[in-house]
């Protein structure tokens, strides 16, 4: 019988939540790496037993972990992330030049075909790759060498490369996003990159055609249509139908177009999900109501999904890597909150129930659909 495995990264460790295909009874394993910040845990599409985790601490730096048994046991792998050549400077918050400094790995994106190959998005923003199961990491320097790197500026969370999307139809094409530089695309396997931010509007940038400087929070793609991307920007939900060459706003009737997560239904490429968040400073749901919004029209027309979610006195956040979708016939949707809840919907968002309520603040949620 098929099943799902939800991989949860939190401020104080990693957790593995497992269920069969019914998604009613769950087992909770963890905390793994107790006390450490786990920014991301993700499994290999090519081998679901191969799972990678980014473990870190402000005191003791970056550690990388690998599991070969679906997250039951782990072993540390290489944790050396050295920028290629002389890293130079990016812009600091006040616009002054600031040296590039490695801080942490935000996001791991395993290859679609090779369990030993993984991309890592790091802060300060750069893209790294391993091809030996995590033992060695090397930078793909073409991204920072794009020419705009000296103008990249950190968002509130740092200058982080937080999204990596691999094109399932074209192994040479990769999309990435950096807060607060914008989105970028390579069509040659990472050798060269182009900024794909035309059509984005950001209040703090006077030039409407600015190549970089946009605070992209998250990108999402449906595997059947890799040229259609959805974006949750700092403000605005956006869509492109031409692989990022141009973007259109699809915020429509959302109560606020600020948020962090965005994801796509497993079987309906025009069905997308966001969690609107009140901003700029509050970063909690409007009116204390935790609502997922779903659009079945690829944006613009949104419906609130509230059944099973707290509709009063709820002031949590849902961070950018904390939503995931399984691919069972009735598509499952999962998200985690800074209050430590992980909610699951086994009916594409119509209703929700918590898998766990009291984890440490959730940083990331991924799900594996198991055969």
């Amino acid at each position: 019988m098929s099943g799902v495995r939800v991989l949860v990264g939190t401020r104080k460790g990693a957790f593995v939540l497992s269920s069969d295909g019914k998604r009613e009874q769950w087992t909770v394993e963890g905390p793994h790496f107790a006390g450490w910040e786990i920014y991301h845990v993700k499994g290999s599409p090519a081998d679901p037993n191969r799972v990678y985790a980014s473990q870190g601490s402000s005191w003791f730096g970056q550690v990388m972990q690998r599991s070969d048994d679906g997250g039951k046991t782990w072993a540390p792998v290489g944790n050396k992330f050295a920028y290629d050549g002389v890293p130079g400077t990016h812009q600091w918050y006040d616009g002054t030049p600031h040296p590039w400094e490695f801080k942490r790995v935000w996001h791991l994106e395993p290859s679609l075909t090779d369990p030993d190959a993984v991309y890592a998005g790091v802060e300060d923003a750069a893209l790294f790759q391993t091809t030996d199961g995590g033992q060695n990491w090397r930078e793909l320097p073409g991204l920072r060498g794009h020419g705009s790197g000296a103008r990249w500026q950190p968002g509130a969370g740092g200058l982080c490369l937080h999204t990596i999307l691999l094109d399932p139809k074209d192994p040479q094409r990769i999309f990435i996003a950096i807060s607060a530089a914008g989105a970028f695309r390579t069509d040659d396997g990472g050798a060269t990159w182009r900024a794909i931010n035309q059509g984005l509007r950001s209040e703090h940038i006077p030039d409407p055609k600015a190549e970089v400087g946009h605070c992209v929070h998250r990108l999402a793609m449906h595997r059947s249509r890799p040229s259609v991307l959805f974006m949750q920007k700092h403000w605005d939900v956006m869509r492109t139908d031409n692989a990022g060459d141009s973007w259109q706003e699809v915020s429509g009737n959302l109560p606020t177009d600020f948020g962090f997560v965005i994801d796509v239904h497993a079987h309906e490429p025009e069905t997308i999900y966001v969690v609107p968040i009140k901003s700029d400073s509050q970063h909690f749901p409007p009116d204390g109501k935790l609502r997922v919004f779903r659009s079945r029209t690829g944006g613009n027309e949104w419906e609130p999904l509230t059944k099973g979610l707290p509709q009063r006195d709820c002031y949590v956040n849902v961070l950018r890597d904390a939503m995931a979708i399984d691919s069972l016939d009735s598509c499952g949707v999962y998200f985690g909150t800074t209050g430590g809840q992980v909610y699951a919907s086994k009916d594409a968002g119509d209703s929700w129930a918590p898998i766990v309520r009291d984890l440490p603040a959730v940083l990331s949620v991924e799900v594996q659909t198991l055969p």
């Binding site: 790496f33 107790a34 006390g35 450490w36 601490s57 402000s58 005191w59 003791f60 730096g61 970056q62 550690v63 540390p76 944790n79 050396k80 050295a82």
Partner: protein, 98 residues
């Protein structure tokens, strides 16, 4: 043998309980001690000092014999009591209270 006391997070990472004992040979300095510690527990590479520069991470400090050795040159001899094994060398995560 030099006794090294690691902070809890690094003990967990290195999968050790309590102090670890490290043999550094004739020349016992912070540098040779950490070289030997990392050779025995490679998972600690990069967690106490930088991979390449070997500089102490900013939020890590070193103490021994009730003295702060964090800012000493890493090539200075360790205190005799540490070399003799009567006092531990402490690796401490810098804290400013809770």
């Amino acid at each position: 043998m030099i006794r090294v006391e690691l902070p809890a997070h690094l003990r967990t990472l290195a999968r050790v309980d309590g102090e670890v004992q490290i043999d550094v040979g004739d020349r016992a300095t912070v540098r040779t001690l950490l070289d030997a510690l990392e050779a025995r527990y490679p998972v600690l590479c990069g967690t106490i000092r930088d991979h390449d520069t070997k500089e102490r991470r900013p939020f890590v400090r070193f103490f021994a014999c009730e003295e702060d050795l964090s800012h000493e040159t890493p090539d200075a001899p360790l205190p005799r009591a540490v070399v003799a094994g009567t006092e531990p060398f402490l690796v401490v995560g810098a804290l400013a209270g809770g």
